[in-house]
Symmetry: C2
Subunit: 457 residues, 2 copies
Amino acid sequence: MSQKLNTPKGTRDFSSLEIKKRDYLLNTLKQCFKTFNFQEIQTPSFENLSTLTGKYGNEEDNLIFKILSSGDKIKKADTEAFKENKLTKFSNSLSDKALRYDLTVPLSRFVSQNLNNLSFPFKRFQTQLVWRAERPQRGRFREFLQCDVDIIGESNHLNEVECIKVYDTVFKRLGMPKVNLRINNRQILEGISQLMNLDSVNEIASILDKTDKIGVDGVINELKKKNISDTAIDQLNFFLDLKGSNREKINNLRAKFSSNKISTNGLDLLEKVINTSQKFNLKNIDISFDLSLARGLSYYTGTIIEVSSPDEFDIGSIGGGGRYDDLVQKNNPRLSGFGISFGFDRICLILDELNLFPSELDSSKSFMFLNFSLEKIDNLLVYIDKLRENNIICELYPTDTKIKKQMDYANQRGIDFVVIVGQEELNKNIFKLKDMSSGKESSFDLKNIVSELQNLS
Amino acid sequence: MSQKLNTPKGTRDFSSLEIKKRDYLLNTLKQCFKTFNFQEIQTPSFENLSTLTGKYGNEEDNLIFKILSSGDKIKKADTEAFKENKLTKFSNSLSDKALRYDLTVPLSRFVSQNLNNLSFPFKRFQTQLVWRAERPQRGRFREFLQCDVDIIGESNHLNEVECIKVYDTVFKRLGMPKVNLRINNRQILEGISQLMNLDSVNEIASILDKTDKIGVDGVINELKKKNISDTAIDQLNFFLDLKGSNREKINNLRAKFSSNKISTNGLDLLEKVINTSQKFNLKNIDISFDLSLARGLSYYTGTIIEVSSPDEFDIGSIGGGGRYDDLVQKNNPRLSGFGISFGFDRICLILDELNLFPSELDSSKSFMFLNFSLEKIDNLLVYIDKLRENNIICELYPTDTKIKKQMDYANQRGIDFVVIVGQEELNKNIFKLKDMSSGKESSFDLKNIVSELQNLS
């Protein structure tokens, strides 16, 4: 046992203090989701591999953590595929389960499986871990918490508005600075890709998504490398170059798309979402229509949105979501869904740096009984039991080691008061209390210990 | 998309109601751990494979879920091992990470990694999922929540006592019937295995553990199959046959072990733990010294305990733990640890069947606004926003479909009150409220909507 022990790449341990901060954020989110009357569900950490693959896109599928088959199932290893360097085929022969990559696909599995027991629109929230085999970087981990709300069963634009308002409410409650919510619609992008003579916008979605990192010129360069024709690129450039207010952009596009039903549909929806959202008294969100927003996941079919981190943070988006029409296994009536996700870890990072966590995350006081001798502690156990029955946080130092060592422990642990009941105190039926921050010592009747400590805690 | 969608074997989805119950139990546990001044930590869902293997025992190692290497790492597949049917070697070449099998080994990794930043004794609690590739059965799942408290850094018997008191406090708070806590000490078992001429008790631990299922005769049969000599079996039988109170058993063993230092050490410790625990005013626990308790995990070295489910439940243990001396990578001073685990899912099952969950798990009332037309809802959004700002749970039905359909949804979702603001109400500046349980309808001033609904919620 001498090797170096570490957490795996891209994963973290959390200390007690970090957990208190994370719990504060998590509870704020959950409390907000509940006032919007979303219901919580939880799904297993892993799903059947077939449930997950083919929904996100090829690049994303490669980032799914697969679970190695156990026992005799591993005998199914397709070594022929291995020899032929067909690695995906080989790894699929070794696995029939995989860790959750997001919360949307498990939700769609849940809804398909429980169609007859759910009432629609089904408004659910879910706050669970997801895992991605990505290269870790600031604010990006291989294991991270996602917090999602989704509304399934209706394609009405009010669902988009409701979710945008969830963002607004959460950010307001957290005291965050105003953030920018970019919005677009996949149908508009499909219209553009038709003008560009592409089969689908999915061909260029991942490149488009880089616009805010590499700029329009960067995007055009990457498209050229992909053998997209100059005419097509000129078409795209026209759209990416559109300036002005949301309204001006929408009007410009209406002219361009007058004969394209899909795109005008998309524009109508986009306009309704923006207009109705603004009537909802948004306090922490500016909405901007951004044609360069594509969102990589291939299951999106309608509205897509993404929330940028506040200007001073260079950690990408802190939330995003969209409408997906084909995830739930039911066609009549069609169950369309819209949902958003909060980037929990990145929001934590922002709250930390902007000092937005409450200063007293946990205000209960803690008490530690000194241990003078193992024979004498029998007298104390009943008091300790009573104190805990009254929810007073207390402990007994477990050995009768030197008092200095015990006090050092109390200091390091942040104990608020040390309780002293030695032989002398027992004889007098009293206890002493040492305030660890002021150093002050006081004596009290032992029989009043519960009420005295209750007053302090 | 027509295949059958399911959760993987041994895993479950949780509905909103189930989560409320589980949260109640989880919060009770956490609250109790906190009054004992344990600090929470969280560790990643997966660890490096080398951190996990070789700690639990060979059988258990086979139940660890390994994560398939992704990307090019899979090229390291040891196909030679596969050909030679060395399946463990083959699967180890395909994986360098694995899902948590318990919370103790990750804790020992955490402590080894953070030795210089922790104050000892380190009292931590942890409530996270663990995964085991076991055959699922009633109360046993492949993904389940474990709730652990451990004290690391001291081998003093007070740590055992403190953890036994944690069990007692939790079960008391939950209103559980009295349960039996069986206790033994690995050192005593080592003494017995010496008398049996075995190398270690680990050779027979998993068989011994079956005593409460298959009885002493069943155990003896299995030992015979393992080629344990008749003389050795007679030795063991003497111990398993011991009757009487804890004290009588201890005295009997003292005579038998008078010259065996390891075992008398174990007996001394066991006696101290039992005696001191009883001074701690145990309310929900009977302690019984049980020589047939071995606890399979090979990392245990001292005290071992296990809590049986109440008599009427046949779901095995609802908690267990023990002392482990060799898990933390530090030798001077030796960091011994003692910890216990709560079988969360089984306790849930018991609370459910004994009707011990509080009847009102969530008493907030919920309100739903009927949707009369998408044009008119603009008037309502500001009210809805205000209500939610005051933490009143409310939603607007997202489409202006038939009122009957909206009312059906409100019924199915368990909405407490439906809010009616149609054109007529808007004209009069009022809103109507329909109590969904009584059917009663009342009218109020629209401008008082927040205070009126606050009174009801």
